[in-house]
Symmetry: C2
Subunit: 218 residues, 2 copies
Amino acid sequence: MKELQNNILYKNCIPQWLPVINQSRQDHSFRKAASIFKEGDAVRGVFFIRTGKVKILQNWGNGKELILRFANSGDMLGYRGLGKKKIYPVTATCLENTEVFYLNMDVFEATLQVNPRLTYSLMDFYANELEETEKRMRQMAHLEAKGRMMEALLLLENKFGLNGRGYINIRLTKQDIASYIGTTYETVSRMTGELQNERLIETNGKEFRLLPQKRKSS
Amino acid sequence: MKELQNNILYKNCIPQWLPVINQSRQDHSFRKAASIFKEGDAVRGVFFIRTGKVKILQNWGNGKELILRFANSGDMLGYRGLGKKKIYPVTATCLENTEVFYLNMDVFEATLQVNPRLTYSLMDFYANELEETEKRMRQMAHLEAKGRMMEALLLLENKFGLNGRGYINIRLTKQDIASYIGTTYETVSRMTGELQNERLIETNGKEFRLLPQKRKSS
DNA sequence: TACAAACTATGATATAAATCATACTTTTGA
DNA sequence: TCAAAAGTATGATTTATATCATAGTTTGTA
């Protein structure tokens, strides 16, 4: 149960309330490529990732998709404010086998009522998330594909860390990267080649690593 | 004072606390093109627009800027979560003469402590704002310039409404629109012409109006 | 009210990246 | 374990849009 201590819910709940959560939560497993929820599904509760990695995306008419963000263990999924919409505007799809626990919306909202500190932390979380998204939008608008790809790898390194071999600890297809930076898989394939020639990155199949030198963030 | 009732702060405060706010708030006026705060300034408090219109932007090395969003009367500016950063990541520049009131950060944070309902509303606000920004990002990634311009006008119509003559109630230069949709003013100028030929919009100098027919949102 | 500064329209050219096409490689599941 | 499906590399062509250039228009202000 150690990993549970690590999420925003457990960290911000008064101890007296934890039994309520532990009683209501349901655990679920999803296989790689399965979706936890889909665009258009009714919202019934929130999910917390125990182990695994997830991409949050929106579909775009033709076969295209846009990956909005990635989620790692400890992250919360599926809460988008209350009232108005009871429908997910996004799809959450597992990048590897993933375990989550689920909390009914009633229980979650009661939890917010009882734990102002949680509400406060969530507000802070969303404010920061908004700032991140705005930063990404600026990059989308003003960087060309190669720069966006470097920024994406930097973010992925921060989010998922490195594995034993020194590569970023997540395996993504060229198409996933393309969907994240708003381009095509062909362009990602070409940029990967160029970035390797320029000694800025190294790859091994679906694994990537940033080489130490001049990694300029924005 | 009627317009004050309309902002998130006054709407969510317990009456007993209002005297504290009224005693601490400071009123300021800014002329068109003046900045309320700038990227890099130290954060000392939050601003609420009483009257006027504001653009929130980030500068991008060379002369380029990206407008992240627009703010209208009633909107709050400058709160981006707490702790960590004490520095604005964005600039807020007035599009017309604007009156704001300012609240010291200490007072604002005390207000959050005393009014859980305000914290809750703010969380909801940021969650929704995040959703909007993600939607805009999807448009940025997958629509071409003309489509992004139509979406921008739709958003502006929703945010600012129409004036007496039936035009969207905000005056923007081609450069402002370009900065908002991530393109150049030349492209906006050309798209404006095309959209008029296609009978999708009508313009009058810096005023725009969407024509009623087939306006498809996403 | 006039003049400089800011803004706009429009054409010509250059370019990043999408699209189309094909062959090759890796992964998955029956 | 092997075949089908998914993913990748790379070239050729097309396209949207940035950039460069110039002249005309509007706006703010001295």
